[in-house]
Symmetry: C2
Subunit: 99 residues, 2 copies
């Protein structure tokens, strides 16, 4: 998370404590403060290789087609927003969380 956003988030947290801002607003802000993950083609390939799985198996975990994974890794297509988020979850929590 960028430093600026982090500080802003702190501010909103303080404002919420004092009652200037609702819990809803705080939660909204937290969600918006979550940085959009980005993965280069190479990064995706590395991520998969760290788990020692083939493209086919990786695709199965992701619930995507082999063709899609290949195009991600070869830079022909970029993962959608949700797919990027999923990749970040995998990176931090492992493939197991998908099961």
């Amino acid at each position: 998370m960028s430093r600026l956003i982090k500080e802003a988030l702190e501010t909103v947290r303080d404002l919420q404590e004092v009652g200037v801002v609702s819990k809803q607003t705080l939660r909204d802000f937290e969600a918006l403060a979550v940085p959009p993950p980005t993965y280069s083609a190479a990064a995706i390939r590395h991520l998969r290789e760290n788990f020692h799985v083939s493209q086919a198996v990786f695709a199965a975990y992701l619930n995507a087609s082999v063709s899609t994974v290949q195009k991600w890794e070869n830079g022909e297509k970029k993962p959608s927003g949700a797919a990027l988020r999923l990749l970040s979850v995998i990176e931090r929590k492992g493939l197991e969380v998908l099961v």
Copy 2:
């Protein structure tokens, strides 16, 4: 997971123990045995409402656009495979895992 697949998975596990099948193959099979998640438009809306967040906030968590979430909930568009997997993760682990 369907009963048949579950049994087949057991068999492959046994085969692997005896050495007829490699660990790779077992892992491949496990991945393939993971059932593809499905969410109806209503199910997605319910999922979001369970977390008491607006479409905008939900979209931020998913790293998707508001427009996309709306179309999912109104049945105009269906989530991609990876998006479905992400929804299943959220359902089982909560929104927190995305941060």
